[in-house]
Symmetry: C2
Subunit: 308 residues, 2 copies
Amino acid sequence: MSFKLTILGCNSAVPTVERHPTAQLLNANERFFLIDCGEGTQVRLKEFQLNFQRINHIFISHLHGDHYFGLIGLISSMHLLGRNKDLHIYAHQELKSIIDLQLSAANTELNYPLFFHPISETNEQVLYEDEKISISNIILNHTIKCSGFIFKEKKSPRKIINVRIEEYNIPFDKYNGIKKGADWISDTGEIIKNNEITVENTPVHSYAFCTDTAYNEALIDKIRGFDLLYHEATFKKDLADRAKETGHSTTYEAATMAKKSAVKNLLIGHFSQRYKILDELLIEAKDTFRNTLLAESGLELDFNKLPS
Amino acid sequence: MSFKLTILGCNSAVPTVERHPTAQLLNANERFFLIDCGEGTQVRLKEFQLNFQRINHIFISHLHGDHYFGLIGLISSMHLLGRNKDLHIYAHQELKSIIDLQLSAANTELNYPLFFHPISETNEQVLYEDEKISISNIILNHTIKCSGFIFKEKKSPRKIINVRIEEYNIPFDKYNGIKKGADWISDTGEIIKNNEITVENTPVHSYAFCTDTAYNEALIDKIRGFDLLYHEATFKKDLADRAKETGHSTTYEAATMAKKSAVKNLLIGHFSQRYKILDELLIEAKDTFRNTLLAESGLELDFNKLPS
C-alpha cells in the first residue's frame, strides 16, 4: 500500500527562519499520522498543501517544546475551521493538563471529541492498531521521559493468480482460505500447493521514529530490518561528549545504530542550530552507513521507492 | 526620542503561510516592548533581524491562542540561547500557570529570572514606568477578559539654548532647574523668562493598542489625541452583526473610534482570514477616517515620521 513520510521540520531546540522544529506526517494508505508538532507545524502543513483536518492521530515523543509547542495551535485551528470528527493524541500524561489549561483559559469548548491516550513511561505497547497498521511506543534514552514510535504495516493476504482460478475452477467462497495460505484440491483430487496459485502481495512497510535519544543499543532488536529509521543526529561526531551529556546522538552513533539494526535506510535529523551546512553531517553518517538521507523541511519519502 | 513600531503579525485566529497571528514590537528609545506573541513570533523577530534578547517586557492582551501561543517558545529560546537578564511578563493570571506547567513538564529551570505581573480584570493602572515612558492597561470588550495597552512617552525637560548659556553666564549646577522651567536672574538682577533661554524638547509620543474588542465608546477619552491607534478591524462593515456576536469590530467601527477620539493616525489589523484582498478593508476605513494605515507583517512605523 502507499506509505509516504513528509518531513515538516527537523531542527533541534531553537527554530530558525529556514529550519523548523520537529514534525513529520506519515501517510499510510490515506491514513494520516502526525509525529511530533513543533511550533509552526500547522503553517508547514498548509505550506506543503497537506490538509490537517485529515489527521486523526497525533503522536508526541516528549515534552520538550521543540516537539510539541505547535500542538495547541493546531488543535485550536482544527476547531476554528469547523472540525467535528475525533482527534486522538498519544503523549505523556502531563500534556493533557497543558492542553486542558489552555482551552480553559480561552473559554474554548472544542467542537470535536479529543481523546487523550497517555503513553506509559515504562512499558512498550501498541498504541494504535487497525487492519492495516500497528503503531507502538519504544522507550528512548533522553534527559526527560521520551518515546520513539514504530509503525508496522500488517502483512496483506496473498493474491490469487487469476488464470489459476479459471484453470482449477476455484469457487469464490474458497478465495479467503487460499489467500491466507490454504492449498487447493482439484476436481481430480490433486493437491495444488498454495504457492502455485497465489503470489505474495505488495511488501509491508516499517518505519521507526527515534528522537530525542542518546545512543541506545536496546533499540537494535526492536527496529531490526526496518525500511526506514529516523534517528536524531543532533551533533557531529567530535561532540560525542556533549551528545551524551544532553541525551542526544552524533552522526556516527545514528549511523552505527542503523548498521547494527540492519535497517534498509537511515534518515538523520534534529540538527543543532550550530551547523549551517548540513552536508557535513550527511558525509559523516554515510561514512558508517551508506544508505543515509538528510532530513529537511518538505522532503517527501515514498517507501515504495526507497532503496531496499 | 525614537519611537518605532514593527508589526510582526496581524491576522486573526488561524495563521496562514503569509499572514501571521498578532505580535508587535515597540522600540521606545532602544527599550523594546513586545505586545502579544502569536505562534511563530520568535521566527518573525529573526526574519526581521530584531534581536529578541533585547526584549525585557512582554504584554499579552488576552488568552486566545492567536495572541500568545508563541510565548512559551520565545521564553524557551531565550533560555536556550543563554539569556541571564530579567524578563517581565504582563498578562492575565492564568498565563502564569500555563507557563509554569510547560516549564515543569520539560524539567526546565530558566537561566534567567522571569517576573510575572498579573493584569487586573477590573482596574486600569500603570503596569510599567520609567523616566521616559509609562505603560498602562485599558479594559477592552471581548468574549473573554481582554486588555488593551497604552504607551505614553513622558514629557522631556526643556532644552537650554547654548548661546544663552554664554550670554548670561549660566553655571552648570543651574541647568536642571532651568530645564524644568525655572527663570534665570542675571548678574545685573534682571529676570530672564524661561522661554527666552530654553526651547521645547522633541515631542512626546503616544500609542494605543486595542485588540481584541467590540466597538467600545468607553475607550474614547482614554486614547484621545494619541499619535497612533492600533484598532482591530476583523470584519468588513457588512458583517457588523458577526463582529458584535464575536466581540470584534468592523472597519467602520475602528475608523469611527479613531475619529471620535481624534487620534492622529489609525492602524487597522487582526483581519479575518476570509479576506484575501485587504485593500478593501483599508478603503472602507479611510472612508470614515482618512489617516488610516493597513497593518502587515514587517511594516515599521516611525512615530517621528507619522502624519500629525
